[in-house]
Amino acid sequence: MASETQAHPPADHGHDAHGHDAHEHGHFGPEMWVIPEASGLVAEVNEKQRTTPGIFRMVLYAGAALTILGIVGFVLKAMTAGFSDHRAWGFYVATFAFVFTLTASAPLAACAFRFTKSHWRRPLSRIAEIFSLVSIVNILLFIPALIALPDIGVMTEGGEQMVRRSIWFQELVNPSGWLLAGMVGLSFCSVAILWLAALPDMAQSRHLVTGFRASLYGKLAGGWYGTKKQWQVQKGGLAILGALYFMMVVFVQFLVVSDFAMAMIPGWKDSILPPFYTVISFQGGLAAILLVAYAMRRWGGYRDMIGQAPFWAASKVLLGLTLLHTYHLFAFFITYWYGRLEVEQAILNYLMFDSYIGIFWAQLFFTFFIPFPILVSNHARREGWGAPLAAIFIVIGLMLWHIRIFAAAFAAAPAELGGLYYLPSNAFSFPAMLLPVPGATFPDLWDIFMILGGVGIVLLVFRIGMMLLPPLSLWEMKEGSMYQRVDTLIRGRYLVLTKPE
């Protein structure tokens, strides 16, 4: 690959006027900026896809095994607990929300960094977009969660309408239709982004692949020649769909966290929670992308296509999101702590300082106290391993966050008349509830199976996506090689960029 020739100084620049090795004087190693040669990129990436490294095969098998375990757990849970009591499904909903959080925001990273015309994003774009395939799984995972969600209203024997507080307009059944429509719309948008972004790559690879992929590429990329108009429509389409995806993902996250967390804990009214959830979703999405990119670079044979620069640049964004996460957590806490209402104290005790105190502190360590020093270290960021290391802790921390919020929310109160939820439909006030504070809930064996299955299905679907589609955005990498080169300035080697727009 020509990354070597571009990443290292050419022979005639190897020595400066003082007889020093020029590249020894730069502070950036040869792996910082890797700019692959455009001409052989399509063939080389296709060849890399064919020769799957062992670790990727392991990911596929592990993903499949965990998915089967999750299905077994789900079936046994449904048979033993049924869907009539939502409290049995808290860990399932936490697992769904965790998968949704991590995967729904990932495609947004490709759109957002493309908007800002960052060159370093190029090797990360396709990885981010392949997460769109997991969004189809999100729809399937969402359906049982919708079935478990209690109705908004019930009718008493005397004919009185009793409703629980929700964001929906007046109806008695649960808002499954609207929630599902939102999730389907989001998935449709993300898959459309993936298709449009991968269109030129599929067209360019169709003569190199055989079998199912050849047929798939032929169908999905039929008619793509790479004319000026097609490139312009693709660029415009990605911009519009990216903007719509941002507006949609934030909305669906608002629906999920409002209906499956906030509305399930009586008396929890929190304007910070939806943006908080969005921030952690951005954080989790970026962490997931960096983990995959690191695995591809370290073990997948893509070292000559993915340099350290994407990790260096993305780690600063991850640091910002980690700080925002912690800020929102503090803002949530301080508002309720100052408010001092009985219900606010009860919610703080339930989610933070009493029932779930252990998981709260563990989560705080994983999402802030451990990744923060790693991400602050310039050395760790620049060497390329800092951001993926921090990402591992962040992903574990976010799993704990979802258990603390969603599993706790589903276990907070029974959905029955005279219980904590349902009030007369014309009642104005909202009495103090959640007293006494309920204890923590713990997963049973089937819950643990389902949690593992949630992780497994992400691994499985993502790996299949990497096998089906070019795992790097070939046209963007080629475009990048047109606009970037590594050159000598005095005694250092630096990246020279062109910004045509």
Partner: protein, 186 residues
């Protein structure tokens, strides 16, 4: 894959078959391709009759090509408008049909209606954008026209639709500009 006969007839009805022939010149570098484009323009070939085929998006105007216009930005607005109208109708009509007071709020209260209206707006905009992309890019096509796989390796294609009498002149222009190969659709 051959186009089904019925679709061929429909296409011919919309736009009658042209007598023009497709010619593809293959260039190893952008400078030669741009020179060929300039020479075609100089020879009186309308700039709507030739297209540069590239494996990545080149900066706009860098090959001296015509400015392309598309109407993709209209589609999301139309979709959003239709989605918003549907959202308003569904929420208003269902609330009027099944009036249920919650928390003492009016039956037709805007905040909960806004959620469904927003969702309808977004779904409409997304759907119409995808339709717009398919339509504006002229995708899918049942038959891949004249092309060369070397374009995927960084070569540039210059595809010209030329009248039969212009054919040899166009081929000559491309060869003079440094085309590594010139193909025709015969």
């Amino acid at each position: 894959m051959a186009m089904p006969a019925i679709l061929q007839r429909m296409r011919d009805a919309i736009s009658p078959p042209s007598t023009k022939q497709a010619i593809l010149g293959l260039f190893q570098d952008a400078e030669s391709a741009a020179n060929a484009g300039d020479a075609l323009k100089g020879a009186g070939v309308p700039d709507t009759d030739y297209d540069f085929l590239t494996d990545s998006p080149y900066p706009e105007g860098s090959l001296g090509e015509r400015e392309e216009k598309h109407r993709l930005y209209l589609y999301p607005f139309i979709g959003a408008l239709l989605g918003l109208s549907s959202g308003i109708m569904i929420t208003a009509m269902s609330q009027v049909a099944y009036p249920l007071v919650t928390g003492g709020k009016p039956v037709l209260s805007l905040p909960p209606m806004a959620i469904v209206c927003y969702e309808g707006t977004m779904l409409g905009a997304i759907l119409f954008t995808v339709i717009g992309i398919v339509f504006e890019s002229r995708l899918p096509k049942f038959q891949l026209g004249i092309y060369d796989n070397r374009i995927t390796q960084g070569f540039l294609g210059l595809r010209v639709k030329a009248e039969p009498e212009q054919r040899y002149e166009v081929i000559e222009i491309m060869n003079s500009a440094g085309a590594v190969e010139v193909k025709t659709d015969e």
